[in-house]
């Protein structure tokens, strides 16, 4: 599960294509226009490689960090079946992280470098995982609605141009469909249960609505840079378009359960077909993504703790003569 891509607005547009071979660039763009995929050893512009590494790496980190708020609840899951299902879901998320690290690796950044950058705060992950899962209701809302948002993003990106990323996403999406059904089942169970259970899930929805609205990222202005990335099929849809798609599919399903969404302005404009809503607090989004959220510090410390505790096993298994080779696909 993962939200959005962050376009680097500081990079001057005129430098993006600087020094690129115009013949090779034209061939590369023609290939993408024909709907063909780019494979790891193909020629590609530097900016294409840079953006993809950054995007896939952030996506991978999000899967790994995303396992933490839910993983917290495995020991306290209500009943054996829920515990088994939650373990399976969390294992899937970690597995998705592995698939995505592999896809990013084919572009030339090693997995060790990516994990180091995560731990040192140099690369980001989806902002929503800087919030805690305070109750079982939160895990239900995360599994249903955060994963729903992620599926919209991932299905969109799976039609992109980079072969290894698309292949990883197709596999991920098929597994996410279980997460979505599992999450929905959990929410329905609570929402149709005792008054206390309804309260639990309503509270969780109230807490998570802002992160959910943040999930696809701030409205992106169509800059020259984003236009190039869209032409290269790196960025496949605007953040607002994905948010609209999410609202259109899921708000009615939330209302079906008689739950209240904490936004009095939320409604579908029947004339435009678009959803209207109160803009979530984007200052909070910026603050949290830059490190000042309720769990940022804990998430990275837990990752570091795990890597440091496992280091001796990894180093004991390492063979001096082994040489790393960039994977093929």
């Amino acid at each position: 599960m993962y939200g959005t891509t962050f376009i680097d607005k500081n990079k001057p547009v005129k430098n993006i294509l600087e020094g690129e071979d115009p013949v090779k660039l034209a061939e590369f763009e023609a290939r993408i226009t024909r709907g063909e995929k780019i494979e790891p050893r193909d020629w590609m512009p530097k900016e294409y490689r840079r953006q993809l590494i950054r995007m896939i790496e952030q996506h991978a980190h999000s899967e790994i960090i995303g396992a933490l708020p839910e993983g917290t609840w495995i020991t306290r899951a209500p009943g054996f079946r829920r515990k088994l299902a939650l373990m399976a879901k969390v294992q899937d998320e970690v597995g998705h992280g592995q698939l995505l690290y592999s896809a990013a690796e084919t572009l030339g950044k090693t997995r060790e470098a990516m994990i180091n950058d995560l731990i040192n705060g140099k690369s980001k992950y989806s902002n929503v995982f800087n919030y805690p899962a305070m109750t079982w209701g939160d895990t239900a809302i995360i599994a249903w609605l955060i994963d729903a948002g992620a599926i919209i993003n991932q299905v969109t990106n799976s039609k992109g141009s980079y072969g290894p990323y698309c292949r990883a996403l197709e596999r991920i999406c098929s597994e996410e469909s279980f997460h979505l059904k599992y999450g929905h089942d959990n929410v329905v169970y609570l929402a149709t249960g005792t008054p206390k259970q309804r309260e639990l899930v309503q509270d969780a929805l109230n807490r998570w609505w802002t992160p959910i609205m943040h999930f696809h990222g701030p409205p992106d202005k169509i800059s020259a840079h984003t236009q190039i990335l869209m032409k290269w099929k790196v960025k496949m849809a605007s953040n607002d378009d994905m948010r609209q798609q999410f609202l259109n599919e899921y708000v009615p399903k939330i209302w079906d359960l008689g739950l209240t969404i904490p936004d009095p302005n939320l409604r579908k404009n029947e004339e435009t077909g678009k959803w209207e809503y109160t803009e979530p607090d984007w200052d909070e989004f910026k603050r949290v993504i830059n490190g000042d959220g309720p769990c940022n510090k804990e998430r990275l410390q837990v990752r570091r703790w795990a890597e440091e505790r496992g280091a001796w096993v990894r180093r004991a298994l390492k063979k001096a003569e082994a040489k790393y080779t960039v994977p093929l696909a």
Partner: protein, 139 residues
């Protein structure tokens, strides 16, 4: 720091402000390409990679990564460094392949010649009656 996860509160978490590179290079070992066979009789298909210190570990991780849900009959792992591949840059070496129609069964059709010869030499058309029926039906 108080976490919502009671287990986290029991850990002694490291401070994370020294910018240390926690992982050394090649600490995640080599990569192995994984091939998955869905059921006996099927081809093995490449599904992805795993990082492992040796083939045994690669097989265990391949099972966790690619065999935990879908039906699986068999897995292969091959070190990425041991795979030799053609270069996409040299795609032109496959260019004449679709022109080699003489390799296709569909390129060989000689009934017209047989029928012409039969008519000229008074040889009975063995399947003539049946052919007339099908032709009548299709009209």
């Amino acid at each position: 720091m108080q976490s919502y996860d009671p287990r986290v509160n029991r850990m002694e978490l490291p401070s994370n402000e020294d910018g240390k590179e926690v992982l050394q290079s090649e600490e995640n070992w080599e990569t192995y390409e994984v091939f998955h066979q869905k059921k006996r009789g099927d081809q093995h298909i490449h599904v992805g990679i795993v990082h492992a210190a040796n083939p045994e570990m690669a097989l265990i991780l391949a099972k966790e990564s690619f065999g935990r849900r879908r039906q699986t009959a068999n897995l292969w792992v091959v070190k990425s460094s041991q795979v030799h591949a053609t270069d996409y840059e040299n795609q032109d070496m496959f260019e004449t392949t679709p022109e080699k129609t003489y390799r296709e069964a569909s390129d060989y059709y000689c009934m017209d010649r047989i029928r012409k010869y039969q008519q000229e030499h008074g040889i009975a058309d063995r399947k003539g009656e049946r052919r007339k029926k099908t032709e009548a039906k299709s009209k």
